[in-house]
């Protein structure tokens, strides 16, 4: 599922800044990065390349569910 998990985040926000597709946001309560919009991950690895803590796990399988209906998910 593309970007899979973030562990041991130090809160530097670099991944939020460099994600080309706005997948990541900060969790204001914990001050750690959060996978907010996984469907939009393009598996480009920029977030993990730039992560100082090597905290991000990415798998090569496509994220996102098939949008079968035309109603809001």
């Amino acid at each position: 599922m593309a970007i899979a998990k973030i562990e041991n985040c130090n809160g530097c926000q670099m991944c939020v800044l460099v994600c080309p597709t706005d997948v990541l946001r900060m969790d204001e309560k914990t001050n750690t990065a959060l996978i907010a919009y996984p469907d939009d991950c393009q598996i480009c690895y920029l977030c993990s390349l730039y992560c100082q803590e090597d905290a991000i796990t990415i798998t090569p399988d496509k994220a996102g569910e098939l949008v079968l209906g035309w109603g809001p998910s």
Binding site: A2, C12, V16, P20, I43, D61, V67, S73
Partner: protein, 535 residues
């Protein structure tokens, strides 16, 4: 690090998009003494196609390159529709721009995006990050800035500028496998809506992706461990990124196996050769991974000359969003795109700075700002069930199959066009957004639908085959009718398409027999020509 954005900004030069073209544009304009604002959907250096670049072609007579060889080779590979003025610019400037990257500390650095970002900030460019521009502001037939919103909190942002440089790249239909899902032709769409001429939509980029992990093309390529490096020269008859895969599949076969490139990859700053990427055994590739994208530099705002100016005063463009036709109908070889964007960015920065020095700042009224914001934020107020994710998915289903935009034919394209027109008229106006992220998706999807319509109309209009444009119903080059570029313009009746002939002196030598002039064959081509002769 992600900070709040002011809602109203005034600047001399506005640069939209922070890939390598936008960075060179911003720094060049700033060095001419102007106040420059660079706005990006993400962050400069890490934006668009730039973070995935590795090669930079340098023309260098000291390394034995011959000007006429390059002119002839690129024209031959690009099947004569390349724009020689922009090749001249590349040959004149690529060495100096590569030296700039060296001076800035970019070379040899895998995370070079961060080096570029630091450099642009250090050069006192006002950098606005994570803000999507949706609309160019126009007053008295002149572009006077742009408006958009912040992704973090949805705050509106209006930027008025004496000159605007569009460097928002090209795009695709958010395909899988090629990292261009942030690129949705936003620049073309904004420019088209204010009357700019758009070109190059019929040319097709045919990047593939590994069949076993089609969504993760980057794992196979790896992130290049060398950073940016220099490449040599275009190769005669290279036919880079042609339609082999798609045509083979259409004929009932398998796409050819891919492996490490058979040529020397390039040179590192110390002069040593770069080895081909490791861990790249022969593997099955599949197509469609860059669907919606044209050949690098082929599509975008139509340049009025080699100064990167559009037909609308105050609007300039550079990089993949400028239809410079640097390479023509097929890619000239690795390194041309990054190098081309760099030299064009610097050129556009210089020209826009000259324009801004003589222009005044036009303010936009509060009333106009309010109307603009209403239309930009309308998807957040709508009562509807249509999501951008769904419209994107059906657009992909309509446009990505190989038999629509790769192997083309009139009735299939007309069917797709009917579908796309329905999306344009009945789905785009109903898309909803429940937060600023979804608002971005709505605007991106609207721009992708516009690009789909442009691609289909341009492909229907060009009744020949050439380079990366293959029509089964017109499978031969037509030098009599089609030594011309197509320009698309907004008119009262919808999209207007025009032919723009290339300069007489760039036309191929028609005394050379056709099969020598164009040695690469399309399926059905010779039979089609024989039929024409018989008729």
């Amino acid at each position: 690090m992600t900070k709040a954005v002011p809602s109203e900004i005034e600047t001399d030069v506005l640069v939209i998009g922070g890939g390598i073209a936008g960075i060179f544009a911003a720094i060049t304009a700033q060095q001419k003494g102007l106040e420059v604002t660079l706005v990006d959907k993400g962050s400069p250096g890490n934006s668009g196609a730039t973070p995935f670049a590795d090669t930079f072609v340098v023309f260098d007579e000291e390394r034995g390159h011959k000007r006429q060889d390059w002119i002839d080779t690129v024209a031959f590979n690009g099947e004569y529709l390349n724009n020689r003025a922009f090749l001249d610019l590349l040959m004149d400037q690529s060495k100096a721009r590569f030296q700039d990257l060296q001076d800035w500390g970019v070379l040899g650095e895998v995370k070079f995006g961060l080096v570029l970002r630091k450099h642009v900030i250090r050069n006192k460019v006002n950098v606005i990050e994570r803000v999507m521009m949706t609309t160019l502001l126009k007053k008295e037939e002149r572009v006077i800035g742009a408006a958009g919103f912040a992704l973090q909190d949805g705050q509106p942002v209006t930027i008025t500028a004496k000159a605007t440089i569009m460097c928002a790249g090209a795009g695709g239909f958010k395909p899988t496998g090629f990292p261009i899902r942030s690129l949705t032709h936003d620049g073309d769409a904004m420019a088209y809506r204010v009357g700019a001429e758009i070109t190059g939509k019929e040319w097709i980029d045919a990047h593939g992706t590994p069949a076993n992990k089609p969504a993760a093309g980057r794992t196979q390529w790896n992130l290049n461990p060398h950073g940016i490096f220099m490449t040599g020269q275009p190769k005669h008859g290279a036919r880079a990124l042609n339609l082999d895969k798609e045509i083979e599949v259409h004929m009932g076969g398998l796409p050819p196996l891919a492996g490490p490139p058979p040529y020397a990859f390039g040179a590192l700053p110390d002069g040593s050769q770069v080895p081909p990427p490791e861990n790249l055994p022969k593997h099955q590739m599949v197509g469609g991974s860059s669907a919606g994208l044209a050949v690098h530099k082929a599509e975008g705002i139509f340049p009025q000359n080699n100064t990167c100016a559009s037909n609308i005063p105050g609007l300039f463009a550079a990089g993949d969003g400028l239809g410079s036709m640097l390479c023509g109908t097929l890619y000239a070889g690795i390194g041309f795109s990054f190098s081309g964007s760099s030299v064009q960015g610097a050129k556009a920065g210089e020209e826009a700075a000259d324009y801004a020095q003589k222009a005044d700042l036009v303010k936009i009224s509060q009333l106009d700002t309010a109307a603009l914001n209403n239309s930009m934020f309308e998807p957040m107020e709508r009562e509807s069930a249509i999501t951008a994710a769904w419209v994107t998915q059906i657009l992909q289903n309509a446009m990505i199959p190989y038999y629509v935009l790769y192997v083309k034919e009139q009735s299939r394209m007309e069917a797709a066009l009917t579908n796309v027109e329905f999306m344009r008229d009945h789905l785009v106006p109903k898309m909803i957004a429940r937060d600023p992220h979804e608002l971005r998706l709505v605007h991106e999807t609207e721009n992708m639908v516009l690009n789909a319509e442009m691609k289909l109309r341009a492909s229907l209009y060009r009744t020949e085959s050439r380079g990366s444009h293959y029509r089964e119903d017109f499978p031969a080059r037509d030098d009599k009718e089609w030594l011309a570029w197509i320009k698309i313009k907004s008119s009262e009746d919808g999209m207007e398409l025009l032919k723009h002939p290339i300069p007489e002196s760039w036309r191929p030598d028609t005394s050379v027999p056709y099969e020598e002039r164009y040695p690469a064959r399309f399926p059905g081509e010779l039979e089609f020509r024989a039929g024409q002769k018989a008729a």
